[in-house]
């Protein structure tokens, strides 16, 4: 078992990327040393009436300085709390959690949708092959500039304000993007589209899944997804997203 840590990490920077998306760097050497792209952390709230940790993906790693970046959207009380933290506050975190992406392929298509975009950044940095990066937004874009050093970046927006009007699959088709491996993270409807596209085009696809979590480490069985095969741990057709995932090969799981 890879090592997992529960620590009070120091917040070294916190900035607002859009109206409701924040970027936070924390210093936590043990976690950073063990982390890889596609893994996530459990973030604990200070408010005592919020008992469950919030799973947030690793967006970037700065191994030299023991730093780790989290990018999150304020959608509820927990993320709202995180958005109010200040530099030099501490935040309880556990990680790294989950399996992360398996680095493979010669010509990769990285697909991120909405708040599924952040985990693709560290992947883009670590994946050494030709990379085409497709980022889908509703309207306002974020992080897209930061992907530029790592590959060709294509955008889609629902309102057409940037890139292809439509979703990430529309952008892929509009730009005739091809590859031998897909890495994707985003809302379930997007992942369904990606899975269908991958099947159609016979491309391998790693997708990162989401579910409500309690323990974050595989003990409580809150976060399962339907798996095609009987899972070796659960012995039913369920896989634990926090443990066997969050990254799965598309054909392994039902969406």
């Amino acid at each position: 078992m890879a090592e997992t840590f529960k620590k009070a990490a120091l917040i070294t920077s916190i900035t607002k990327l859009t109206e409701d998306i924040y970027s936070m760097w924390i210093k936590e050497e043990d976690i950073v040393a063990n982390a890889k792209p596609g893994q996530f952390l459990s973030l604990y709230c200070k408010s005592e009436n919020r008992l469950l940790p919030r799973p947030i993906s690793i967006c970037e790693l700065d191994k030299d300085n023991g730093l780790l970046r989290l990018v999150y959207r304020v959608v509820g009380k927990g993320t709202e709390e995180f958005s109010k933290y200040k530099v030099s506050d501490r935040i309880e975190v556990m990680g790294p959690l989950g399996n992360g992406f398996h680095l493979e392929g010669k010509k990769a298509i990285l697909i991120g949708g909405g708040i599924g975009i952040p985990p693709m950044l560290e992947l883009a940095k670590q994946l050494f092959c030709e990379k085409q990066i497709v980022l889908g937004y509703r309207d306002e874009t974020f992080l897209n500039e930061e992907f530029k050093p790592y590959g060709q970046v294509y955008l889609s927006t629902e309102d057409g304000s940037a890139g292809t009007k439509g979703n990430v699959i529309d952008a892929i088709k509009a730009n005739n993007i091809e590859g031998d491996i897909i890495f994707a993270c985003g809302p379930t409807p997007m992942l369904r589209g990606v899975k269908a596209f991958a099947l159609e085009n016979d491309i391998k696809a790693q997708i990162s899944m989401e579910e409500r979590m309690a323990c974050g480490i595989g003990a409580c069985l809150a976060c399962v997804c339907k798996s095609k095969e009987v899972d070796h741990h659960t012995h039913v057709n369920n896989k634990r997203i926090c443990k066997e995932g969050p990254v799965f090969y598309a054909e392994e799981v039902e969406l």
């Binding site: 604990y44 469950l52 399962v224 997804c225 659960t234």
Partner: protein, 300 residues
């Protein structure tokens, strides 16, 4: 300072165990907690055959609490004895296997299968609100409690702890029914049946509408029930429901619990079990309590 307690003839090194379903079979939390330090490890519910559990979402957060509708997913007793039990037996702690079933026969089958294994105690979950058959149905009716307890006592080689439902008018009635039928100990409380509606989607949060409420939100109800049950029966009680700190554990013990279990607390703090043991010891030091047994039911 003595923290040892004895439950149905089994001596725990301290009164702290894990609440079933929140700690798996210990493997995952063993990264954070030294299982050797715990009085006992209580496993996730084990049934005769693998159970797939409920559709997701399976949990929801509530004010100072949580709802779960896991639905007792588990790989079944065969996998349990082959994979999980050997792992646990490597530790110097007591092993309590939580047993679930849909029919009395299901429960009996698991209990019989476990008879020849090195399991210290069996906890019988007759109070799960998250499965359609079995579970809570047994736990809300005194005759059913008495019946199933009797059947299991006939077959069990290990002491039997009956886990009671708090979703009853009078906990002393089911407690007395279990005792009368030969139960060696009681566990309480299981979760309270609750519901959450997503007002934006106009839909229930859970596929089977309700889930089980746990966490500090329910602690006052749990303490009350432990007190009432302890006043009504002579068999020992394992108290649980919202314990987060050593002080919470002391409160249950003073209400009459011989031992305590931590569930939801593990999610908020993976080292909660160990921290609670430390907290109990600190309380004992501060108030010069020589023996934890002196605190059991001391508030009357």
């Amino acid at each position: 300072m003595n923290t040892k307690v004895k439950i149905a003839g089994v001596e725990w090194k301290n009164p702290v165990t894990t609440a079933s379903g929140t700690f798996g079979s210990g493997l995952e939390y063993s990264q954070f907690v030294d299982l050797n330090k715990l009085g006992a490890v209580t496993t996730k519910g084990v049934s005769n055959v693998p159970w797939i559990g409920n559709p997701t979402p399976r949990i929801a957060e509530t004010h100072s609490g949580m709802l779960n509708a896991i639905g007792l997913q588990n790989p079944g007793v065969d996998v349990f004895v082959k994979r999980d039990l050997p792992f646990l037996l490597d530790y110097d702690t007591k092993v309590i296997v939580n047993v679930c079933g849909k029919t009395t026969e299901d429960y009996c089958e698991v209990v019989e299968r476990l008879a020849d294994y090195d399991v210290d105690m069996l906890e019988i979950n007759i109070s799960c609100p998250n499965v359609k058959e079995g579970g809570i149905a047994f736990g809300q009716n005194c005759f059913a409690v008495e019946n199933i307890t009797k059947e299991l006592k006939k077959r069990a080689k290990q002491p039997i702890i009956m886990k009671l439902s708090p979703n009853v008018t009078d906990i002393t009635e089911t407690a007395k029914a279990a005792e009368a039928a030969g139960a060696d100990a009681l566990s309480l409380i299981n979760t309270l049946t609750g519901m959450k509606i997503d007002i934006h989607k106009r839909a229930f949060q859970f596929a089977n509408k309700t889930g089980g409420l746990s966490g500090p939100a329910v602690k006052p109800i749990a303490v009350r029930m432990v007190y009432q049950a302890a006043s009504a029966v002579k068999i020992p009680i394992i108290g649980m429901g919202g314990i987060m700190t050593g002080e919470d554990a002391i409160e249950f013990i003073m209400a009459g619990a011989t031992a305590v279990a931590l569930g939801t607390a593990n999610f908020t703090n993976p080292t909660a079990t160990q921290d609670v043991i430390t907290g109990i010891e600190e309380y004992m030091k501060k108030y010069h309590v020589e023996d934890i047994n002196d605190l059991i039911g001391c508030v009357k």
